[in-house]
Subunit: 222 residues, 2 copies
Amino acid sequence: MNEMVDNLGVAPLRTEDRLREAIVTGRLQPNERLVESDLARSLGVSRTLIRAALVRLEHEGLVEHERHRGARVRLVSESEAVEILETRSVLEGLAARLAAERATDDDVGDLKSILAEMQRLREADDLLAVSDLNAQLHRRLLEISGHETAARLIAALNSQMVRFQYRTILLPGRSERSFAEHAEIVAAVATHDGDRAEAAMRTHLSSVADALRREAPLRSQQ
Amino acid sequence: MNEMVDNLGVAPLRTEDRLREAIVTGRLQPNERLVESDLARSLGVSRTLIRAALVRLEHEGLVEHERHRGARVRLVSESEAVEILETRSVLEGLAARLAAERATDDDVGDLKSILAEMQRLREADDLLAVSDLNAQLHRRLLEISGHETAARLIAALNSQMVRFQYRTILLPGRSERSFAEHAEIVAAVATHDGDRAEAAMRTHLSSVADALRREAPLRSQQ
DNA sequence: GTCGCAGAGATTGTATGCAATCTTGCCCAC
DNA sequence: GTGGGCAAGATTGCATACAATCTCTGCGAC
């Protein structure tokens, strides 16, 4: 009986998760071929499980698959990244609107303390930690909105964006602007103003997309 | 060589498609258990293919799967249908905005002729045909927008909505209102007014969601 | 009569093997 | 030297077999 309790919630860490992790951390590079038998050997499972995992990851958009020619890590282009951000923009806008309408006082308190912590870390110049809290704020808003459909789609979009995750916050001036935008979102939610919350979220993500577009030409393509 | 040409584009009609069709046409009822070996026998393929197809359909949201307990046709609840419509609302709003910004004169012509045909069929009281054109108009707008990410997500959402597809247009008064809303969307696109097109699309889909909410309590649950 | 439990049957999870297809490298004609 | 074609190797597609797990039925204790 104790084993049961111990295992509760401890997701069995499935093959799919291990593969996903290898992709999002870049251990498997974009466009790299994913040979089933190699993966099977290196993960210590059979090809069957690898195939099942690849099917799922394909649907998630992390892998692309051609019949009889195998799977490879999907390269998300810069223009596609912009599309994804545009999509996130309207989906998270919807979630922010609902969050504003439904937030309890406790919810608002949570958001404000996340914001305060972001401010603190920003002053300490720990931009990567700020970026983490950033993600946490967005996640919390989604929870408050209670909109599962939007949450599911956003999660899928996010996993395709890993390559661009830590970029924009590092750009000069982005950190200040990003903080102000988040503060505006939280303020809108605190006053239960749905329209304002949606507009603020869309402004915020548009400005991330702009930053990405501006940064894009500066880097050499890989 | 002729065989190659003949087969081009003739999708091999995969197991997945046959299963999806059985679900969306209702031949497989919501909550019905999907026993792999039964399906394999009735479709004349092995369990391996059935399993792969079920994994994909699960990701599409048509099937739900519990470990060691098998798959069943997923029942989309009324409240979830509303969530899906809300999500479609913002995604198609985005697409409508882009369509307005990018539409050529030919595109606008297409939209207007679809609208005219809708009007004609409406006067002939062929509401199901109107509903088909309805879908066609939405599809065309997505094409014009050129936004593949939004298109992909909307397609997935639509396949979950089949159970509710032909309902709302049949409600008294819906047909007139729906036509007016579509006309407004097309007018906005014709004048390349992105804001107006997005607002019109969101109004339209909100009103569909309202109709669904209003209709919902009238029917007995199955 | 109800509850608990054990075992058989049903069903899913995983591994393995063979067939189909693709890719690569080599040889030969030109 | 170049290009076409063919054969061998690599890889994926699919089916089958076995193991793990679940479900359901029936029996016995209370």
